[in-house]
Symmetry: D2
Subunit: 174 residues, 4 copies
Amino acid sequence: MAGRLSVIGVMGPAETATVLDLSRAYQLGVAIAEQGWVLLTGGRQAGVMAAASQGAKAAGGLTLGILPGGDGAEAAEGVDIAIVTDLGQARNNINVLTADVTIACGMGLGTASEIALALKAGKQVILLADAPEAACFFQGLAGDRLKVVATVEAALDWVKAILHELQTGPRPRH
Amino acid sequence: MAGRLSVIGVMGPAETATVLDLSRAYQLGVAIAEQGWVLLTGGRQAGVMAAASQGAKAAGGLTLGILPGGDGAEAAEGVDIAIVTDLGQARNNINVLTADVTIACGMGLGTASEIALALKAGKQVILLADAPEAACFFQGLAGDRLKVVATVEAALDWVKAILHELQTGPRPRH
Amino acid sequence: MAGRLSVIGVMGPAETATVLDLSRAYQLGVAIAEQGWVLLTGGRQAGVMAAASQGAKAAGGLTLGILPGGDGAEAAEGVDIAIVTDLGQARNNINVLTADVTIACGMGLGTASEIALALKAGKQVILLADAPEAACFFQGLAGDRLKVVATVEAALDWVKAILHELQTGPRPRH
Amino acid sequence: MAGRLSVIGVMGPAETATVLDLSRAYQLGVAIAEQGWVLLTGGRQAGVMAAASQGAKAAGGLTLGILPGGDGAEAAEGVDIAIVTDLGQARNNINVLTADVTIACGMGLGTASEIALALKAGKQVILLADAPEAACFFQGLAGDRLKVVATVEAALDWVKAILHELQTGPRPRH
């Protein structure tokens, strides 16, 4: 392997994830693996975390799970490397600082904290959720650093654009 | 002193605080001190953190500042006890877990993360900000655990009610 | 109250504390309160943490407990202000960064981590324990920044000297 | 890839590492990669962290760096996946909770904190360092959960034995 691997975070609700959230998370996991990127999730055997990890593993990818608890046993089946933080929800900040790009897939209170922390750290976030209030709220605070999309494909297009920008510096503005 | 002290968190923007945010933060600090409660803020010499601490000190109160950096020198003048975390924004979770009640005074990305983390922890939050998008978004996620108020007085009424509930258990519902 | 309060940390074993550790911790708590300093401990209802807090309260002092868990209910009876971190043992770093001076009263694995972290942060540490291996090990790594003492009185003399140095800058060396 | 990967932590001094520490760290990195294990270090471009990562990469392995700062730019060249914690030395607890086995290669204050935290968490630690005071001190606190070795080969033998024990449960005692 040569050089630092790109890490893409997929964040989303656990027990309250919808069927659509889970389907999108799985597809995101597949696509991230197919691109050769590392998938990062919150790591638990629940909701979007588990679905994205399962998708990435189905496509032969590498998966990280940043666990809130103090024991690796809580990791989802699809997690290759369990980072055991014992930090509770404070680990959400590690999720977004570690991911080169964060995708919010669905919405919940933990996800909301991650979007806020990622934007606070100056990062761009992709929102794939039927959550117009979230879009309105976070775009009011962070402008177009929040990319609101309606499909997995559109999310991936933004991931590619943001990774390109990170590797080459910001595009010139005329 | 007898028994655990009540700790009230006042969270809000730093450099982007409005004049109204600062005025309300100062008044909240005064009122919290007058009630004999301990004021908790993010501790830095900026915005709502500094204004609330200054108000509490003017009224003879006791103030905690939960600092993000690794050196107590960044503490606001009005902070009596600086908790030096060196955790960056991960310290936001400590703010809301430590406060018996959290008041969001104004809005920003750090404040948004604190509201999300407090509600995620099952706590009640008081929102004193001209931020209808925030109210809409967080009430959609947490229902009436987010109390939206328009005045310092209304915020204090909710603090008293929530503290009473914490000390006596939830009120019966008929 | 005027200006930042001095915070003195008393660290030591929980369930494995000896009777001598507990007696010294209680006396340290009393003395810290009598000096008008704030006592900081790890906050739980066990061992040195509980004994020091009890001593400080008996002498009318103010006590902080930096809790490892996510719920204030684990705080010792003598804790006035419970800082709820939910960080597990990662909170040990907050203990030593927050304390102006750290006293290790007795020895255990948690205490060892706190001595190491305090010295790593460039701080001075007072060791009051019948632990010659600890003294030898940490003095080998940090020289005379580890002060080894045999009595509560000697520990307090060092606290005063270190606080004086912090407030006035290091003493000149001829 | 199938199932959770084994993660081996190599901890040791940064700027104060000796030539022997660096040589051993490099060899440990090589051996860990050859076994198909993931290498975990503190991630910075310094001392034992950098040498172990370089060794693992030379042998085609996969490397994690758990960084103390808030920016991945501080990662060592040999780090494939940079976990950006922004936790300062509090990240030491993540290092040892995440590693299935921790090897202390050389000695310093950060390393001492990691040994203490790993043993505190109930884990076994391998000490490969010319540090009899450390061996004496930590064995006094944790007994034979600290394995003291003099060669890279002996360290690897212990890693294999501990991983085997973790996968099969503790060996029966007659």
